[in-house]
Assembly symmetry: D2
């Protein structure tokens, strides 16, 4: 049993972390903090947790986070970069579910996130927490940058072909659709039911913060292709569902391989990536509330365009579930511990 | 470990049973039958089960159901009454999730369900599987009639006041709202997305099959009130969500008691009934995908009308979850075994 | 052609007023005000209006509202009571879509709305704008208090039986379900898509502002029953759809009449109330985007409880459409002018 | 006033035609046929039409369709190709909302639609009813093939760049998302609420019937580019909303032009195509229930990929509305007659 703390638990990644950790066999929840909700029982804000989580939100300043073995930051961007250092200094390991440590290029990060980075040196140390790429580094990491939801679905869909260098890297297209919980639990007009229901739209076409994160990841994956430049068009959309991301990925084939086999081989040992049989169409609900990425590969009309379909639950494999997976790796637990929930369908 | 079979597994109660049983520590799934889908892998029809359930649908005639310790019928009404007897004769215990054994009065059953009953004697033996009422009888039962979804939410909401005789039994009102999965997975126009989404309606106001089931249960509960006649107005509605039932119950108070205390006492030892604090409004999502009934009690403007709000997930506490709870009781397992999932919110 | 102004047009009743008025044959839109959006083109905020409405939001202080023949207040509660008087003094007629002038008892209003009333004398003059009750008074009115959405659906459903005195007035029950647009376009957590979708809940069971409004209306309707006291239990619910209200109304029958005939006779001449044939179940989508109330009458199992089902679109017959209907009456237009849209189904 | 008939009016395009035609100033509805619903009042099946449409469904054999000036076929594929000829011979003009006359290459049509074509000669005569391309031919047409919903949104989005030859024609990508009403009103499991709600998926990636229709249209548009071959990857998706199509279109730029200007010029005179200002993101709800296509143009990061966003209501500009627009053109009415509804938002 390890002692676990959560900083900032009033959003959707917070409640999802609580759902997963409260059922985890190796975890004792020690503290969850919220400046605005001090002393409110967690289960009062999230009645789904009644009977399972007895904690109250505590003041970040008074919470005994330094007694934890690991602390998750489920905070807005810009918080972990200020507070992680004290915890690390006290020997606490940290997983940040926000974006503070995801981008290695500090200037890039500052441009996309519109603030000055408070801990550039920690960025250099942080391990990008995509287990399918960085498992061994995660095992040793003090500080893990948990990937974004779009980047998880997109990278897992592109990795096999980018690593093997069989598609044109300069003309990748990611047309990605997200459920509304991806926008968080902030009270914003655009996330209202009456705005988002029975409606579909693209947003951020001119540029979205997840673009540099995906490009960085794909560039690493393409390291076998010297001098590779990743050219990616990334278009996010909002679709009227609560959870789920569906990435539809397009790549121009430059070298013939058995793509189905390529994907199956790449993910053969991965407990949380499921390559579907040929001619499948993964549905987001097939991974609802579970830590799974399901992928299907198509080649329409036998042409030279590869179409990859990749689905995850944005709150699980795209956030809290992946964070727990990283924790399992960091502490030498069974990687599937606490993550074997079967998706909820219908 | 017990051996378990499912007859008729292509509907929503079937897939939900599979989700729960595949994660149950005491269960080995032996067979699941479907006449129309023989040899189709279950996970091909329900991709959410990929990696968790390896079974194929088998022919009901060839399935080794008699080797099971228990068989669940997740079939349409009218099937279990024909097939249960052979299994019972072979020493297999049976839980019917359909309505065949719910109504003790055969004439009543035949009127509401529009068919001749094939096993009236088994009806007499069958135990109505509402653990909060019949726990000890369920323990001994060979044959359990699993309650309907509306009846579960409605009875659990009315039981404390009917048992204690503090409301007028002749003027009860149950205004109940159900998600669309309650209509099953049959291809019917009225259940189409484009018919049911962004829409709300009542149906069956002149009479619904769950009315006699609720009346029977409440009459039993009122056995302390000699000669009690249950007068119930039951109006079901369809609401555009997948899972969930919300019962809004109205009763005229005839005797003053501390209603909050009455409910808390009645359900004090119940693992799956949660009485909320005063002035609460349970949401259906607070029990989504979990075997819980949450109840709140109100007395608007301090008047003489008691309002009880009762929510369940129709596929879990209203069907498959309650069936597993009954199985746990029948076999002496921990009643919560395999049923401790935390609700999925959001 | 009359000149029309709108105060506060950034909410859902505002955009709905614009949709209806922009297509109205007798209306010239002169100004729409918003303090927060001065100079923003209306069609930039509501792209559905591109090509139909060329106005920009103007500063309330600078808008030429006094040049209008009529001004609609689509503002939060508490605004019209401060600003209506200047317009009325300038000879402008006013329809308030908020609650400022709906309750004749000032003390009651101040209790439910939590503020001091700024124009008690105008309350006395205001006409309650339910045309099916007050048509002739509306014709002469300078100031119309447009009814709330719940009160419209509930009163139209109860009126025939309350007026004719054939039900018990002290035990009326209104179990009412609303789409989320009823909560307005304010950014509030509880109205977020991820909170309200795939979910159902009651709220305000202990007391809701629409309760005194309904009671006042029903008491007037019962004026033939001397000394009548209206006892109403009113439970509002939130259902995951955008538009629509479904009222399920329960009354104890005290005198036998032909209820179907009673309703058909009561609404025979009403252009916007449609009494359905016996045994019907009105759906909210059957009135979507149209100024219609559809009503069905039931008497389950031939008992002594009358069940009335009443549906409206909360933004049309429950707000903007009824306001336009009132305007038509006030200016002697065809009452259906600009209101003959056929509901949008599916 | 012209006399109008509809063959096959029990689906969504049928009821939408009725909604539009019943409000059309130049139309008298003479007959609507349905083999399965003879003598059922239309308004009984679609209560939204109560008070607006008094017709009953009539037997196709007995309906006086030959007395009509124009007949719409809102039938499944394969009906109009058998029945249109008699009407044409009798001097009745015909618009087919199904696919029977859309594809000029008969072999292609028979391959994609899996049946032998009954009237190949009529195909040659039929005019493809996309007014923005074929307005003058439509004016003279006896027989109009009304375009599919995906093809309308996709062609209108691609036309300006394909006609002007400034993008690579061999690598076009159309990632298109449709509401569920696009699948029609047939009772099919995959269209059930509990299957389609809170879910997102691609389908038909290996090939969809609308692909050859789009390719044919784009090839015509590219006629200025001699020998042009259209290479199109078309991926349709199902999104949980009732109405709406959102096409996200990708093209590789081969020649620099002012794309915003190009689109604005191309559609300058078009009453039903709205080019949004730069950096816009059209929402499907901004065209809900209206005959409008809204388009926005993007060039992410100033690169060489053009992204076009194009939205329509699949039942209006993608079906019934476009059919009425074609009728208006054929009979010399104002092209906007009966089509000036403002979209319903929210």
């Amino acid at each position: 049993m390890i002692k676990v703390g959560i900083v900032g638990g009033t959003g959707y990644t917070g409640v999802e972390l609580l759902r997963l950790l409260a059922q985890h066999p190796e975890v004792e929840l020690l503290a969850i903090t919220s400046r605005s909700e001090v002393d409110t029982p967690v289960a009062e804000m999230f009645p789904s947790l009644r009977g399972s989580v007895d904690l109250k939100f505590s003041d970040p300043k008074e919470a005994s986070l330094v007694e934890c073995d690991i602390v998750f930051f489920a905070t807005p961007n810009g918080i972990a970069m200020q507070q992680a250092v004290q915890l690390l200094d006290a020997g606490v390991r940290v997983i940040d579910l926000a974006a503070d440590f995801r981008i290695q290029n500090i200037a890039d990060w500052e441009k996309w996130y519109g603030m000055k980075h408070a801990s550039p040196d920690l960025v250099a140390e942080a391990v990008y927490g995509l287990p399918e790429v960085n498992r061994s580094a995660i095992r040793q990491a003090r500080l893990v940058a948990n990937p974004g939801c779009y980047p998880t679905a997109t990278q897992l869909g592109f990795l096999p072909v980018v690593e093997s260098g069989c598609v044109e890297l300069t003309s990748l297209i990611a047309d990605v659709k997200s459920g509304v919980s991806g926008a968080g639990r902030k009270a914003e007009t655009s996330s209202l039911f009456s705005e988002a229901a029975d409606n579909f739209k693209a947003y951020g076409v001119s540029g979205h913060r997840h673009l540099p994160e995906i490009q960085q990841g794909l560039a690493r994956a393409a390291s076998e292709s010297p001098g590779a430049v990743i050219g990616l068009t990334f278009v996010p959309h909002l679709t009227p569902m609560i959870r789920g991301i569906h990435a539809t990925l397009y790549a121009r084939i430059t070298r013939e391989v058995d793509f189905q086999q390529l994907f199956e081989d790449r993910y053969a040992g991965e407990p949380f990536v499921d390559v579907l049989p040929p001619n499948s169409h993964p549905e987001t609900r097939s991974v609802r509330a579970a830590n799974i990425c399901r992928i299907a590969i198509h080649r329409p009309q036998g042409g030279n365009v590869l179409v990859v379909l990749s689905v995850i639950d944005n709150l699980v494999k795209g956030a809290a579930g992946q964070a727990v997976q990283n924790m399992n790796i960091m502490f030498g637990f069974d990687e599937c511990a606490g993550l074997s929930h079967i998706p909820v369908l219908p």
